[in-house]
């Protein structure tokens, strides 16, 4: 008997004007048929706006179908009588960790659900303890949620659902706002629930790697289920997935490319081990002699001048109090003109604090910073001017949009620079052109744009000041794979055109490896590694200890190398790896 069953499910978002007349109808779900058996681990994939979140809300009776029916544990969700029973049977975890925690103490938040359904006091205490233990958060029982990391907050949210003793848990992009560590913790917790407690899991995500272990996958687009099957069946069709700009795990992609080039590999490879095993069957060339990875010759950009120099910079939060935290610890760095740099580190490694020093938003407690040879802490130094020279795009920059039109918002920076109106307009126009925002949107309200468009508009707002150095703090956070590729491609294009210095802060190695020429890895307030992507990823074992993962291909190549095959272990991208493996197979 299916625990969740939907039949020809349709949902329409109807927009009405002030008189209540229908303005527009948007078809969010278009005849969806779906069947989930108890105890299964189901994934639903799709882009933003594909209807996957709308579907999730139907399972929890937060939304009811416009047409068709959905049954949860044989209860029709459209029947008001069952609303609370449905919500108790199928609990839901949302994307934003902050916006779903209600109480100011962890255990009280977990108790919120049981309290609502009238569970007697003694049982609540028991349930709360049990749920916190399931997700490994017992230690934080008496903590304030504000002091927890994103991944920990999400686990509290999961515990909050588990305390209601549901049969099924729906997770709506639970990892979209987390760093790799937090993502791994949350997924581990969810898998444990599924395996050990037999809870049915419905995971909604746009990360392909997360669905590899599920029993069944649905891929949605434009409100329809356009692919469904076991992960292996889904990932077989790499071309089709790519056509719909869905991400494919790097290993699968590599295997696909090699197969295309004529190697005899199985049709669908999902894990690193599978690929390595399959490749070793092919009889690749072994390396002639123990070859040491030769160091690439240092690039000849000695003549390029240093834009920014950090000289023994340290920074402490709340100095001389009990809360003192050393966020930066004696950092020495120099950044050259025209460089494209990636700064990588896990949350709390000091990477965001570091970049906020570069334009003087935070002031170092010790040490100093030079911009074009000038000490920025000098009393004659114009710090407001520095901020226009070193442009900074914050995380979720769309949250800073405020004007009535996109164009005016972009004009805000140049206006603050004291430029005359004609120049302001020119700058805004250029900047919007650079971020490739369609012209018909220039006069729209920034709040009407889609997520990706908003982000472009916000980036334009910084570029309009024509900074010589552009810093972007996690510019891809919360975007789906397509949005992410678009933004990264855009940043790289702009770098080509403007020849400026770009600093990209990220926790995703795979994103950064494809674009930047230099990577700085931050760990515990210090730069741990600094060099070209190849040099840095050669330390993949140390990176893993820091909670960072090198791109999957790096692991595959190193595995092969260790087995004595003649491949280039420093390959960081799929195309490099393909080339190297093919060479070894000849």
């Amino acid at each position: 008997m299916a625990i969740i069953r939907s039949k020809e499910l349709v949902h329409e978002y109807i927009r009405r004007d002030e008189e209540g007349n229908v303005e527009s109808i948007q078809l969010a779900l278009d005849h969806v048929n779906l069947n989930v058996e108890p105890g299964q681990f189901i994934s639903i994939l799709g882009h933003n706006g594909s209807g996957k979140s709308t579907f999730a809300k139907h399972i929890n009776a937060l939304l009811t179908p416009s047409e068709g029916t959905i049954w949860v544990d044989e209860m029709n969700t459209s029947d008001d009588e069952y609303t609370f029973a449905v919500r108790q049977t199928a609990g839901m975890v949302f994307q934003n960790p902050d916006n779903q925690i209600i109480a100011s103490v962890v255990e009280e938040d977990v108790a919120f659900g049981p309290e609502n359904i009238g569970v007697p006091t003694e049982q609540i205490v028991e349930r709360v303890d049990k749920s916190l233990k399931m997700v490994g958060m017992t230690k934080y029982k008496a903590h304030s949620p504000n002091k927890l990391s994103g991944g920990q907050k999400q686990r509290v949210a999961i515990a909050g659902v588990m305390a209601m003793e549901p049969k099924c848990i729906i997770l709506d992009e639970p990892t979209a706002m987390l760093d790799p560590d937090g993502r791994a913790d949350v997924l581990r917790a969810v898998h444990t629930l599924n395996r050990e407690k037999g809870i049915t899991v419905i995971l909604i995500t746009h990360y392909m790697e997360e669905v590899v272990d599920s029993d069944y996958v649905y891929v949605m687009e434009k409100g329809k289920v356009f692919m469904e099957g076991k992960p292996r069946e889904i990932f077989k069709d790499v071309e089709l997935l790519k056509e719909h700009s869905l991400d494919v795990p790097q290993v699968t992609l590599l295997a696909h490319e090699l197969r295309k080039a004529g190697l005899d590999l199985p049709e669908c490879v999902l894990t690193r081990k599978e690929l390595v095993d399959a490749l070793t069957q092919l009889g690749m060339k072994k390396a002639a002699a123990a070859q040491t990875t030769e160091k690439p010759a240092a690039e000849a950009d000695v003549d390029k001048k240093n834009v920014l120099i950090l000289d023994h910079v340290s920074y402490k939060y709340s100095p001389n109090t009990a809360y003192e935290v050393k966020a930066l610890d004696d950092v020495n760095l120099s950044i050259k003109e025209g460089e494209f740099i990636g700064i990588i580190g896990h949350t709390g490694s000091g990477k965001s604090t570091l970049v906020q020093h570069l334009n003087g938003l935070e002031k170092a407690t010790e040490g100093t910073i030079y911009y074009n040879g000038q000490d920025i802490y000098d009393k004659d130094f114009d710090i407001r001017d520095l901020r226009t020279q070193v442009g900074m795009v914050f995380q979720y920059p769309e949250h800073q949009l405020f004007e009535t039109t996109v164009f005016k918002d972009v004009q805000y920076g140049p206006k603050n620079q004291g430029l005359d109106e004609k120049e302001q307009i020119k700058r805004a126009y250029e900047a919007l052109g650079l971020v490739k925002l369609p012209e018909e949107l220039y006069l729209a309200s920034p709040f009407e744009l889609s997520g990706g468009q908003k982000r472009r508009a916000a980036i334009a707002g910084v570029i309009a000041m024509k900074p010589a150095v552009l810093i972007l703090d996690e510019p891809t956070a919360g975007l789906d794979p397509k949005g992410r590729d678009d933004i990264l491609g855009l940043i790289s294009d702009m770098h080509e055109k403007r020849k400026d210095t770009v600093i990209l802060v990220s926790h995703s190695m795979e994103d950064v490896a494809n674009y930047v020429d230099r990577i700085i890895v931050m760990d515990a307030g210090r730069p741990a590694f600094d060099g070209t992507p190849k040099e840095v990823f050669a330390h993949y074992k140390e990176l893993e200890k820091m909670g960072l993962a090198a791109p999957q291909v790096t692991y595959v190549m190193n595995d092969l190398k260790e087995m004595g095959y003649d491949v280039d272990a420093s390959a960081t991208t799929v195309s490099e790896a393909t080339e190297s493996i093919l060479k070894a197979c000849k």
């Binding site: 919500r87 609990g91 949302f94 916006n99 209600i102 009280e108 609502n116």
Partner: protein, 266 residues
């Protein structure tokens, strides 16, 4: 910069006062205020003062913390004191230039300022020893009778506790938006009052938008967890009186009897 503001003046410590039921503390504070304002002679005033000093000793909160609350109203205290001192008619004690101090004025000024000081210190003992959450719980429970008059007591206290949860988040958010706009050349410091107010627009608009977005998300999350108002809800930590609270109530009762007995006698 905004990170440094600490909200809710709760001072964590282990003391008898910290472990009391919030309802006891609310009731005692009310009694304290009533007696403070009905103390009209030196003996009664001494009773109030001495019991307050005793309670401060019990609270294990450093005295400097209590005085902190006074800083904000020091100007108000001085003005009120001066007005009382000079502008109350009565038998003139001293006079110079156009100002004169009357006996009634002197008495009023002293009484008034000391009452104000005691009021602030007395109520801050309650806030310093009770977490904001306990306070909302206590209020919800003690004002429960008002539900009969259609006052949405549960809803109000739920709103208060959600506000308490989100204030730190919104402060952090303000800090972030402020930095983001400063990175675009915004200036929040210089200029006159009107320019300053105008310059706040780029900060306030995003902040409101974000607050609404969060409210929307939160209401969905609450609904998904079967929230349906106060009806039929149970509590994980229901307020329950124990022997300590009973003893505290007896002390408060004795205090009331003592106070009003003295008042009647004198």
């Amino acid at each position: 910069m905004l990170r440094e503001i600490t909200l809710g003046q709760y001072y964590p410590a282990e003391s008898v006062l910290h472990s009391l039921d919030p309802r006891v503390k609310l009731f005692s504070t009310l009694v304290f205020i009533i007696t403070l304002f009905s103390a009209d002679n030196a003996v009664l005033f001494a009773i109030v003062l001495l019991s307050m000093i005793g309670i401060i000793r019990l609270s294990h909160v450093p005295f400097s913390f209590m005085v902190k609350g006074l800083k904000a109203i020091v100007v108000l205290l001085i003005i009120a004191g001066l007005f009382n001192l000079f502008l109350t008619p009565g038998k003139t004690l001293v006079s110079f230039w156009i100002l004169s101090i009357s006996d009634v004025g002197l008495k009023n000024a002293v009484l008034m300022t000391s009452r104000m000081i005691l009021l602030i210190v007395g109520t801050s003992i309650m806030t310093l020893t009770t977490t904001p959450n306990q306070l909302t719980d206590g209020l919800e429970k003690s004002l429960g009778f008002m539900k009969k008059f259609n006052v949405p007591v549960h809803e109000i206290s739920m709103m208060m506790s959600i506000a308490l949860r989100f204030i730190p988040i919104l402060i952090e958010e303000t800090d972030k938006i402020m930095k983001a706009q400063m990175a675009r050349g915004a200036d929040f410091e210089s200029g006159g009052l009107i320019t300053k107010a105008k310059n706040m627009v780029p900060l306030l608009v995003p902040l409101f938008v974000s607050a609404f977005r969060r409210a929307n998300d939160l209401s969905l999350a609450m609904e998904a967890r079967c929230y349906n108002g106060g009806e039929g809800r149970t509590k994980m930590h229901p307020l329950k009186y124990n022997s300590l609270d009973q003893r505290a109530y007896i002390c408060v009762a004795l205090y009331i009897i003592l106070f009003f007995a003295v008042k009647v006698i004198l």
